[in-house]
């Protein structure tokens, strides 16, 4: 590798003596293209990244931007190998998205080692800006702390004081259960038990039975994507809600709502940081996005990929180079963010992107006037309250006062 590096160095030296070259940037969208998170990220994230590049207009900045895509199949070894190969061999400068917190943690380490940039949109684990924070990683769209405080907090306030968790047995599920448990306990509620299920599980009957027998008022679904859809549908089959218990869909997206169907999903409370029908700007963007994904609606993950990619490119333009990952990330933290999807915001020193969160309730079939008209806004949580306070994170990057 050293030999190849010195060769590259010589070539670069030769090139700079030539006329002023374009700044080349390569962005990799590493996502779940085929498994349980594919509808909530996947091709939709790729479409969002393409829109961001188009809107940035590389030529106007004297830059050329390439996009590559890969499927990590929800396996940390595949994800980290792709990241490593992208950084070492393919010249990728930044990786975007990565749903699945286990994979995200692995990719964050590789990115740190190679001094590149990692923009997390799909993964939720709040530890990415906590004990596992990195000067090369920015956690964009949302995290487990925000979801727990918003959704679980709202449910506890309206009387849901006994909980039972159905948890996806990996980093994300455990983090979400941990953060939601903290909220429930802090509000005086009780957690009656929990059970962990495998990722991408198809049969929830045994777990739902345990949830039913706990008699908890709220069954907290610390899972996402296909797992949440199956939990809710099979819950209906087993008469869970008829028995007086309610589901708390701690992470629930618009594609999931449509898969479950409004009849079963109505009344469910969820938190997202973006909704396609929020205002004219989001609606206009959604129309453009739908050119690549007809019949579907974008969610916060995909909007986050757009927002993060755009801000990244702006930072690279300001520095005129994508080579030093830490420098680009510092630049991204120094510049305030502004885009049509999240409005104005900023990136904190621990890598946490700050913007408001919205508590939505799923409409009933009668209330929904057209496909995609699924949410009604229940509350807005301002940006400075939505995310975990800086001092509570245990992030080594945050200088202790």
């Amino acid at each position: 590798m050293k030999f190849a590096a010195s060769l590259a160095f010589a070539a670069a030296a030769l090139m700079t003596t030539a006329a002023q070259a374009q700044v080349k940037v390569k962005i990799g969208v590493l996502t779940d293209m085929s498994s349980l998170y594919a509808d909530d990220t996947g091709p939709g994230s790729v479409a969002a990244a393409k829109l961001a590049i188009a809107d940035f207009n590389p030529e106007a900045h004297g830059m050329s931007v390439d996009l590559v895509v890969a499927d990590h199949q929800n396996k940390p070894d595949i994800g980290s190998n792709i990241a490593r190969q992208w950084f070492d061999v393919d010249g990728v400068d930044a990786i975007v998205d990565v749903p699945n917190s286990g994979v995200a943690l692995a990719v964050s380490e590789v990115t740190r080692e190679k001094n590149k940039v990692f923009l997390v949109s799909g993964a939720a684990i709040a530890d990415l800006t906590g004990p596992k924070c990195s000067p090369n990683t920015i956690h964009w769209t949302y995290d487990t702390w925000m979801l727990a405080h918003s959704t679980a907090g709202a449910l506890v306030k309206t009387g849901g004081d006994t909980w039972f968790f159905l948890t996806s047995d990996y980093a994300f599920g455990h983090a979400l259960e941990r953060d939601a448990t903290a909220v429930v306990l802090a509000s005086g509620g009780k957690v009656l038990g929990s059970v962990a299920h495998p990722l991408n599980n198809q049969d929830f009957s045994s777990f739902l039975l345990q949830a039913q027998q706990s008699k908890a008022k709220i069954i907290g679904l610390a899972n996402a994507g296909g797992d949440t859809i199956n939990s809710i549908k099979q819950g209906a089959e087993f008469g869970i809600t008829a028995g007086g218990q309610h589901f708390a869909a701690l992470l629930f997206y618009i594609a999931d709502v449509n898969a479950v169907g409004l009849k079963l999903a109505q009344g469910l409370v969820l938190t997202e940081t973006f909704y396609w029908d929020m205002n004219d700007a989001t609606r206009a963007w959604t129309k453009r996005w739908q050119a690549e994904r007809p019949g579907k609606f974008p969610n916060m993950n995909q909007a986050g990929v757009y927002s993060a990619t755009l801000h990244y490119l702006k930072a690279v333009a300001a520095l005129k180079s994508a080579a030093d990952g830490k420098a680009v990330v510092n630049q991204m933290k120094a510049m305030p963010t502004d885009d049509p999807l999240f409005g104005k915001g900023s990136v904190r020193v621990d890598g946490r992107k700050i913007h408001p969160a919205y508590l939505f309730e799923v409409k009933s079939p009668e209330e929904s006037k057209s496909p995609g008209d699924d949410y009604k806004l229940r509350a807005t949580i301002p940006a400075d309250e939505a995310f975990r306070p800086l001092k509570d994170g245990n992030c080594p990057l945050v200088a202790s006062n």
Binding site: K2, A70, P76, S80, R84, L105, A106, D169
Partner: protein, 322 residues
């Protein structure tokens, strides 16, 4: 048990060693030059799998025992190696040693259980044991379940050589794997190895000649498991990750594929097979799930038409021993 192998004709014995020396030289030269042309991490991966396949081949090609659960040793050695390096802060050579010893212990225990039966029942026992240990890995806290053991430090070899330097790591992997290949070669061509081959050909005859075949089979099994573990332990350091993929039964299937494609019972067959399959997976990765289809097709083609594998065919055509 009559799995077909590339057995050389008796009168070519004299020439056997020459062809092997030539092939070995080609291999060593390739390994020295390759990292300057190909991606070193890819080569390290291929080497680890080559060792895994050679260890598997020791059992199937030379003793005639088909293990469908070899991922057990490969994966668990990886877990212990990763854990030792990360949580106990051991230097890489001790981490690898920890992993290898784990595999040896598991091999002795599993072998002790499995050896009591033959043929298909033996294969089924190995499969069941591997599946049990997969489920244990899934639930155990220290393995990290779905997330695996991440951020495994490569550390400093002997306290001196920084393995984060890719070329240093590559050198380490090459030395370890070549040493293991040589060890396997010596095992095969020793009196012990001859007894193993005798057991493969006709176990009853070997028993009647006074050999305690159970003991020999157990030792061979344990050796195979240990070397598979060595491969897994090194791989955990290469990728700085130990995950469920390495203990899943599809990994056991992969090593069968590599050995079958390369050539059962040949010396270089598993090496060639491993490099081929790893390259296939790497370069065809953009094709997504077609890789699975292609692997399946190779299995089918090999069984139907190509049972000797690449090196087996080559050895047979050239009338040499490889």
């Amino acid at each position: 048990m009559a799995i077909m192998t590339a057995a050389p004709a008796q009168w070519l014995r004299r020439e056997a060693d020459t062809s092997i020396i030539v092939a070995a030289t080609i291999m060593v030269v390739f390994l020295i030059v390759a990292p300057f042309v190909l991606y070193p991490v890819f080569l390290e991966k291929a080497l680890c799998f080559a060792l895994f396949a050679c260890a598997f081949n020791l059992l199937i090609g030379y003793v005639g025992l088909v293990s469908f659960g070899h991922a057990l040793y490969f994966g668990w050695a990886g877990y212990l190696s990763a854990y030792a390096a990360k949580s106990w802060g051991l230097d890489p050579e001790f981490a690898v040693l920890t992993g290898t010893v784990t595999a040896a212990v598991l091999g002795v225990i599993a072998g002790g259980v499995a050896i009591r039966r033959q043929g298909i029942y033996f294969a089924m026992i190995t499969l069941a044991l591997a599946q049990m240990m997969y489920l244990v890995a899934l639930r155990a806290k220290f393995t990290g379940g779905e997330d695996g053991i991440q951020a495994v430090p490569r550390g400093h070899l002997f306290g001196i050589f920084d393995l984060r330097n890719e070329m240093t790591m590559y050198a380490f992997v090459v030395v370890v794997v070549l040493a293991a290949f040589f060890l396997i070669y010596r095992i095969i061509n020793s009196p012990f190895g001859e007894v193993l081959k005798a057991i493969r050909e006709n176990e009853l005859r070997a028993i009647s000649l006074g050999y305690r075949t159970d003991r020999y089979k157990l030792v061979a099994f344990a050796l195979s498991a240990t070397l598979a573990g060595l491969a897994g332990a090194v791989k955990a350091l290469v990728f700085q990750l130990a995950s469920l993929t390495d203990v899943h039964w599809t990994m056991s299937g992969e090593v069968v594929l590599m050995t079958l494609v390369g050539g059962l019972g040949t010396i270089f067959g598993p090496i060639v097979g491993a490099f081929l399959i790893v390259a296939l997976e790497n370069y065809l990765a953009p094709l997504g799930q077609w890789v699975l289809v292609i692997q399946g097709a190779i299995f089918v083609a090999c069984v139907l038409a190509f049972r000797r594998g690449i090196v087996g065919e080559l050895a047979s055509r050239l009338r040499v021993k490889l």
